[in-house]
């Protein structure tokens, strides 16, 4: 992916209202891989006794990151929507720490893009969550025969 398309991708992701509400930030993008991070915020807390972020906010990060990975796949995809997303929560994200997700679109067929993703807080030794998803594929007109 050229710098120009990476810049377009960055603008596209930062223009998504809900991603903006969660203060998501695109860290890296290209060739079917996206890295997006999100700060801890009091408004996102799901368990008031521990201050741990709600799983739903982590889902939103995983979903955005998965969609971005699909859209930057080399097979020039015009758009995508989530078909299904499964998230496994391995441990609680530490309150106050930034969460970073990395998603990889590892296979694309004519109609479906397959994605796996992981998310970490500042401790990179064990992910807080892992996800697998299937996304729709909408192609640019005239973009190959696949």
């Amino acid at each position: 992916m050229t710098d120009n398309t990476a810049e377009i991708a960055r603008q596209f992701i930062e223009a998504i209202p809900f991603s903006g509400a969660l203060q998501m930030q695109l860290e890296e993008i290209g060739a079917g891989v996206a890295v997006i991070s999100m700060p801890w915020a009091e408004a996102l807390v799901g368990d008031p006794k521990t201050g741990v972020i709600h799983g739903g906010a982590v889902s939103a990060l995983m979903d955005t990151c998965g969609g971005a990975a699909v859209m930057c796949h080399p097979q020039a995809l015009a758009g995508t929507a989530t078909l299904d997303l499964r998230i496994d929560y391995m441990r609680a994200a530490t309150p106050g720490q930034r969460i970073t997700a990395r998603a990889e679109c590892y296979h694309v067929t004519r109609s479906v893009a397959f994605v796996r993703a992981e998310a970490w807080d500042e401790d990179r030794s064990l992910p807080v969550a892992a996800a697998t998803g299937a996304f729709t594929v909408e192609r640019l007109p005239g973009s190959g025969t696949a």
Partner: protein
């Protein structure tokens, strides 16, 4: 001896609504999303009030997939938590008047959650109900459905597994 007079319905409603309100108020993310709960007896319907910040695709004005996932997960956890608290409040183990976010039992923890996106979410209110398919002492399996204008046309459904808090302390 005559049987005890039934408890006034307003008192029962107050107690149940108070228990629900304390649960909901305690979770910042529920407020952030704009989710409220409509209670009929022990049945909860979650209501997601539309707000422009919930959009995920500005071109077609669709709800963000993460909003839908969050809404379903919030609904599942509230169903489990309210069931637990309902038992405590109705049996008199916990006095509704003394409930505060600080005195609540711990919330269930999500183990895994799988969302099946069926239709794109339109820029309007959405509703969800959860059904606990199995609940043991440690684990629970919950199914959730969300819809907008038409109950028969779901926008998404989800199944999740949850680790239940220990009831001892």
């Amino acid at each position: 001896m005559s049987p005890a007079a039934p408890e006034p319905v307003e008192l029962i409603k107050q107690r149940r609504d108070r228990a629900l309100a304390v649960l909901v108020e305690g979770v910042p993310y529920i407020r952030f999303l704009g989710v409220s709960f409509d209670r009929r007896g022990d049945e909860l319907t979650a209501v997601l009030t539309y707000d422009p910040k919930l959009i995920g695709n500005p071109l077609i004005q669709a709800l963000h997939g993460g909003v839908t996932a969050s809404f379903l997960e919030v609904t599942a956890i509230m169903e489990l938590s309210f069931n637990m608290l309902w038992d405590d409040v109705e049996s008199g183990r916990v006095a509704a008047d003394s409930l505060s976010p600080g005195s609540l039992p711990r919330l269930p923890k999500t183990i895994d959650f799988t969302v099946d996106y069926l239709r794109s979410g339109l820029p309007r209110d959405a509703y969800a109900r959860a059904r606990v398919n199995r609940q043991g002492r440690r684990y629970a399996s919950v199914h959730v459905e969300a819809w907008q204008d038409n109950r028969q046309r779901l926008i998404a459904q989800a199944t999740g597994h949850f680790l239940m808090p220990s009831r001892d302390g």
